[in-house]
């Protein structure tokens, strides 16, 4: 939209915006324009130039000439900070409300109006809005302090939500001028981190604080390219000292203004956020520096109360205690955990049935209480999942050979005999799943360390450089008793020079190729491809490419030469004129994503009955990866040329979702449709999408259905809903679903035990499978999927007895923090959910059709329907009312879920009748032999010339 012209300077502006800048002439106009372009036009802008020497002052005056709403104030002397300019601007401000902005940031277009309206509506002294942190180096955006800005809120004093202390910014807020003047609140001059002190004063004294969820401020951050360089480090101590000084000032202020109780929350932020930023530098300093630093930190940590320490994570608590003891080495190990990806570089020690963070400082019961990390469950992790910290002690490059020496922490004696160890080194390109490994023979196990020496010929290790993704990760793989632990190479950045290493290039080695070593943000060793003229790449930039790696793999496959879908569709029509290949069966599950579900079980039943005897030639379709598919059957890539050929000539098609529309079924082919779930939500022509759709779309749907020769059904309910709603009038096979056969018949304990071990799951706890359904409405929205479980709370309440298996719908992805490894496992990518149901003891779901499958086992279920209102009220509506039929408790909150899981055994009796009725209604046709039935009905007794029964 074009900028509107403005009718003259405002006589009574609604908001004054103070924009400050120093030597930032490139960005200043953007900041000012983002204010002038606001939908709130009745504002004034006061640009305060802190005596710049780069012409910023002139730039500001030019802006004032363009728009009469702008006033410029040029300070006669540079103040060295933000406070003096802001205060000076504040003095000139005429409006009843005031906002602040820095020259290198911008406002969102509606920010001023949204903040102003909320301030007027609520009478608040201060209103804060959402912030997005834009990392210009990594090309990433992230929501900052997002828990605070989830919803509109009005607080009558900061005690209503003390977590507000986590937002110390002054640039995402609007302040009532009269409030600031009444209390004499101004930015403290001569002090760094003035925002924190200013905000503390505001929070302490404000009677009403409002929050709006709207984005108001874009905080642009350029990561220093030389983040780990020496020059940067020089100022770390001064920065830390200033931060501590400001905290002391905040403490004094709180004490003097009736806010002494608020220090607890203010300190929470200090421990959670501020402290860690400065500790990582310590490793590279001399003793004198370290001592000075720790002294300063310990002095301040002495003022932190036990109340604050009870609020933080166990490791943060331990960190503070170690600082108080002035123990540099131990403190740094907590930093490894807290800052660098939960690395266990410490030596955990087991004593009297408990696990402690370190063997030192266990003298008194109070000390032991602090160091006790038993509940974190490290000792319960299977071999493949425990962190075996690997630190490189020496690294040298000779030609293209990398010489590494290092040691691995023998955590809790996991590397001890019995069980033979074998080591290898692997190098993997981030864009590819495969990797090359090389055995490591030169190693010794001595007490609590495994020392190794390895030489990696990078030229050979790499193979071919990758055209798309230039990042490589180096890993140490330790195998013991069939289980493998994979650990990165942690390395001191000082050891990494960044000199390119010559390797074989692309084009069969004709072009020169180089690998440049670099250090990841988690301080692990990695390599980046480069050419002759490449400057040393640094961690931040490399990771930016890492993010693109995922995208590039997809891009690559779709743009490959000779991949024209239209051409293939034409070819398919031609292929169909070829004679049918007797016995050829094409199996597909979930569009080739997995080897799973009913197609799998039909295939396995056919194998058991004898493929040769039946005269069958099976082939499995896969979409992208072949992991998880059997190795002894022919695989065909979905939508490849061969796929078209196979489908054209097959005698049978077996799948659970529907082959692509372009594949019309020929008369001689029998298409067995197993479908993949019993519907809860209205589907087919009952669903609004199809109800409203044009006639041609409806015709297309009907045509797709008519391709099916036979549809397997698990219950009459399925017939009433799915079959009716799609208007399918072909053959129905009322014998249950092959995928549920094992659920009906059960499996023996040995199988369960072995499967648990295969998946790295504990065998001494109840396994709870959390399997929510896909959230329809989230599909097209910007908001990423968030697990609706408070894992921390659940772990505390249930961790002794329960281990969670988390399986989100394959279209929702989330990241499970390594912190929860002992309590929860992400099994979302496990290819067959039936296996998970067989080993689970309890199922937690909401509206997923897994409930109908799981009911065949008779095991308890809990329904966690935290968004039930929204789910049923959306356009689609449901066929049944879940609370009416649920064979287990229906809970709405995380707390209720935890409680229900705690008493799941007690509830079984009470739900017995409902469970039986549920099975009767939704599993009525399940026999436990559905797969065999299909084999008998369709594959056996075909006439010799291969003509199918239908």
């Amino acid at each position: 939209m074009p900028r509107r012209t403005v009718p003259g300077p405002p006589s009574a502006p609604d908001v004054s915006v103070v924009v400050i800048g120093y030597n930032d002439r490139a960005n200043l106009p953007n900041a000012v324009r983002s204010v002038l372009d606001q939908t709130l036009r009745n504002l004034e802008v006061i640009v305060v130039d802190d005596c710049s020497t780069d012409g910023s002052g002139e730039v500001a005056e030019e802006l004032a000439r363009e728009d009469p709403r702008v006033t410029v104030l040029r300070l006669p002397e540079n103040s060295g900070g933000c406070s003096r300019p802001r205060n000076a601007g504040l003095d000139l401000a005429r409006a009843p409300f005031v906002m602040f902005l820095d020259s290198d940031d911008v406002y969102e277009r509606h920010a001023c109006k949204n903040l102003l309206i909320e301030a007027e509506r609520t009478g608040a002294d201060v209103v804060a809005g959402r912030v997005v942190r834009v990392n210009l180096t990594r090309d990433k955006e992230s929501l900052w302090a997002k828990d605070l800005f989830g919803a509109r809120a009005v607080y009558h004093g900061v005690r209503d939500n003390p977590m507000i202390f986590f937002d110390p910014l002054s640039t995402n807020k609007i302040y009532r001028r009269e409030f600031l003047d009444r209390h004499g609140i101004r930015f403290p001059e001569g002090v760094h981190y003035e925002d924190s002190l200013f905000s503390t004063k505001v929070y302490c004294l404000a009677e009403t604080i409002a929050i709006i969820p709207n984005l108001v401020y874009l905080w642009r951050v350029v990561e220093d390219a030389e983040e780990l360089s020496i020059t940067q480090r020089r100022y770390e101590f001064e920065n830390f000292r200033d931060r501590v000084a400001v905290h002391r000032m905040m403490d004094t202020f709180l004490r003097e203004h009736g806010g002494a109780d608020l220090k607890v929350y203010k300190d929470f932020k200090f421990v959670r956020h501020d402290l860690k930023l400065y500790l990582s530098d310590l490793a590279h300093r001399d003793e004198e520096y370290q001592h000075k630093f720790m002294r300063l930190a310990a002095d301040y940590c002495a003022t932190i109360s036990d109340e604050t320490l009870a609020m933080v994570y166990p490791l943060e608590r331990i960190c503070v205690h170690l600082i108080r003891r002035l123990d540099v080495a131990e403190t740094l190990r907590t930093v490894d955990y807290l800052r660098y990806g939960f690395k266990l570089s410490t030596d955990l020690v087991e004593r009297d049935g408990k696990v402690y963070w370190t063997a030192k400082y266990l003298d008194t019961p109070e000390d032991r209480a602090v160091m006790d990390v038993t509940e974190m469950g490290f000792h319960r992790l299977p071999f493949s999942r425990i962190d075996l910290h690997n630190q490189v002690t020496s690294a040298r490059v000779v030609g293209s050979r990398l010489h590494l020496e290092g040691s691995v922490v023998n955590q809790l004696g996991r590397l001890d005999p019995p069980g033979k160890l074998s080591l290898s080194v692997s190098l993997r390109n981030r864009g590819r799943p495969s990797r090359r490994t090389h055995r490591v023979d030169d190693w010794t196990l001595a007490g609590n360390r495994l020392h190794y020496r390895v030489v990696v010929d990078l030229s050979r290790a790499v193979g071919a450089l990758d055209a798309q993704v230039p990042l490589w990760d180096l890993r140490l793989e330790i195998t013991k008793d069939g289980a493998t632990n994979v650990t990165p190479f942690s390395i001191d950045p000082a050891m990494v020079s960044g000199h390119p290493i010559r390797v074989r290039g692309r084009l069969g080695g004709l072009a020169p190729g180089y690998l440049v070593p670099f250090v990841t943000p988690r301080l692990n060793l990695g390599f980046q491809q480069g050419d002759d003229t490449t400057v040393t790449q640094v961690a931040g930039q490399a990771n930016r490419l890492g993010i693109r790696a995922r995208m590039s793999v997809r891009w690559r496959s779709s743009k490959a030469v000779g991949n024209n879908p239209a051409l293939k569709a034409l070819a398919y029509k031609a292929f169909r004129r070829l004679p049918v290949k007797k016995g050829l069966v094409v199996f597909e599950s979930h569009l080739g994503k997995q080897y799973s579900d009913s197609p799998r079980y039909i295939y396995e039943a056919a194998v058991a009955a004898g493929l040769d005897r039946l005269g069958l030639d099976p082939v499995w379709s896969y979409a992208r990866r072949t992991e998880g598919f059997p190795t002894d059957v022919r695989l065909v890539r979905r939508e490849s040329w061969r796929y078209h050929l196979d489908l054209a000539r097959a005698e049978f098609w077996v799948d659970n979702q529907g082959f692509p529309r372009v594949f019309g079924r020929r008369r001689e082919t029998t298409y067995i449709q197993t479908w993949h779930g019993t519907p809860l939500k209205r589907m087919g022509f009952d669903s609004p999408a199809l109800e409203r759709a044009s006639a041609s779309v409806r015709r297309q749907h009907k045509a797709m259905m008519r391709r099916w020769s036979a549809l397997l059904v698990p219950s009459e309910y399925f017939v009433e809903t799915f079959v009716k709603s799609y208007g399918y009038d072909g053959e129905l096979v009322r014998h249950g679903l092959p995928r549920n056969d094992l659920l009906v018949r059960g499996v023996d304990d040995d199988w369960v035990e072995a499967k648990k071990r295969e998946l790295g799951l504990p065998t001494d706890r109840r396994l709870v499978l959390y399997c929510p359904t896909f959230r329809d409405r989230a599909r097209r929205l910007e908001t990423p999927y968030e697990l609706p479980l408070d894992l921390e709370q659940m772990r505390r309440a249930l961790g002794d007895d329960v281990h969670l298996m988390l399986r989100t719908h394959y279209l929702d992805t989330f990241r499970l923090s390594a912190r929860f490894a002992p309590f929860a496992t992400d099994v979302s990518r496990h290819h067959d959910v039936t296996e998970l149901m067989l080993i689970a003891d309890v199922l937690v779901t909401d509206y997923s059709s897994v409930m109908f499958d799981f009911a065949n086992t008779g095991k308890p279920m809990v329904f966690y329907t935290y968004d039930y209102e929204d789910y049923v009220r959306d356009e689609r509506g449901t066929y049944i009312d879940l609370p009416d039929v649920a064979p287990g408790p229906v809970v709405l909150t995380n707390d209720e879920l935890t409680a229900a899981l705690a008493r799941v055994d007690d509830d079984v009796e009470g739900y017995r009748d409902r469970y039986a009725a549920f099975r009767e209604r939704f599993c009525s046709y399940e026999t436990g032999h559905a797969a065999e039935h299909v084999v008998k009905e369709f594959f056996e007794g075909r006439s010799l010339d291969g003509r199918a029964g239908s």
């Binding site: 939209m1 509606h110 009220r873």
Partner: protein, 378 residues
């Protein structure tokens, strides 16, 4: 303070909800003294006669715009016919946008209110000068999200002065999606009768297009299932539409001839509503169902499917009406039966309903628009 107000929609001639609302709003603003111009981007294929209107009414494209040819890609770009068609489309669009800009340029101060997403493409391309731009959505967030309009809404509506939704719920949904300019504006009732129904007539009434989204088949089923319990009551469904034949057959096959009537379009819907006692909303989808509000304005007790946030924006279950789960025929029947049996309940709900929909009365809605204009002027 009077203003120039432009109301823009795809076309202003069809007999549809958006058109009625736009003309209604135009009339209200005009009577208030604002300088109103109503602009349809093109003519409708089946125009309805809205009669003479006292405000300016234009159609931007007298002839339908030559369409953008579909053959993109290399082959298309080389084909001279395709190139010509493309050029013709672009030229026509440019000219139309120019005409629109010229209209806006005549204005002094005020706003452009764009009622539909397709029309917004023109408004966005035009020069709006001093005028504020307000987008107004007449469907629920979910309906937009599930449609092809979603991408365009994302592109075109984040930067307008205000995006108006019909309900608080929908405004929150958009806000959560990062739209920082949302607001709520109700449509106004076209009438607010001087006297309410006396609730003596044993008539259940519904009014709307005889099309599938109004769910009248379910209403007939529901009424049929309780018809015997209330032998003196009848159901009247006013309106016309493609499903007339099917609905009549359904009435016959259920043996409800005479009990369920389909009298066609009401000559004066206000009179018909006042002559009834219970209003039923059986729709499958709705935006903000003004028919329901009209029924309530007449003092009727109502039962409604909870099929959209707009329903709860108008009626509150247990306070001024009955709200039942969507598509649930037994629940609808139950609700109807309760109101048909209990006269005291009918009166209580009816009276509460008449009060609560005052906020949809023309003067209340007009005041809302004035406040909005003041707000965007700040």
């Amino acid at each position: 303070m009077t203003r120039d107000v432009f109301l823009v929609a795809n076309n202003l001639e069809e007999l549809g909800g958006v058109q009625r609302v736009t003309h209604n709003l135009a009339m209200m603003l005009h009577e208030r003294g604002h300088r109103v111009t109503v602009i349809g981007i093109q003519h409708a294929t089946q125009p309805h006669d809205y009669g003479d209107r006292p405000y300016r009414w234009l159609v931007l494209n007298e002839e339908p715009e030559p369409p953008m040819p579909k053959e993109a890609g290399l082959r298309g770009r080389l084909d001279p016919r395709v190139r010509a068609a493309r050029a013709a489309h672009l030229a026509a669009r440019k000219a139309a946008v120019g005409r629109l800009s010229a209209l806006f340029a005549e204005a002094d101060t005020g706003a452009v209110v764009c009622m539909q997403v397709w029309a917004m493409a023109w408004v966005a391309a035009a020069k709006t000068g001093h005028l504020h731009v307000i987008g107004m959505s007449h469907e629920s967030f979910d309906a937009t999200l599930g449609s092809t309009r979603w991408e365009r809404v994302q592109q075109l509506y984040r930067d307008v002065d205000v995006l108006l939704l019909l309900t608080e719920h929908d405004a929150s949904r958009f806000e959560l999606e990062g739209f920082n300019n949302v607001g709520v504006m109700h449509n106004s009732l076209s009438f607010y009768p001087a006297a309410a129904s006396d609730l003596s007539a044993k008539v259940v009434v519904a009014a709307g297009r005889l099309a599938s989204e109004k769910g009248y088949d379910r209403l007939i089923d529901a009424f049929g299932s309780i018809a015997d319990r209330h032998p003196e009551w009848v159901l009247k469904i006013f309106g016309e539409g493609p499903l007339r034949g099917r609905l009549e057959k359904q009435v016959e096959s259920l043996g409800l001839t005479g009990r369920v009537r389909l009298p066609g379009l009401a000559g004066d819907i206000e009179t018909e509503l006042v002559a009834s006692s219970v209003f039923a909303l059986s729709s499958i989808h709705e935006g903000l169902p003004m028919a329901l509000a009209e029924g309530m304005a007449c003092g009727l007790a109502c039962v409604a499917f909870d099929c959209a946030p707009g329903v709860r924006e108008i009626v509150t279950d247990g306070v001024d009406g009955i709200v039942v789960p969507p598509r649930n025929v037994p629940a609808l029947a139950e609700g109807l039966s309760r109101l048909m049996a209990d006269e005291d309940l009918r009166r209580a709900y009816g009276a509460a309903a008449r009060q609560s929909v005052r906020r949809f009365a023309p003067d209340a809605v007009l005041a809302g628009w004035e406040r909005l204009f003041d707000l965007v002027d700040r």
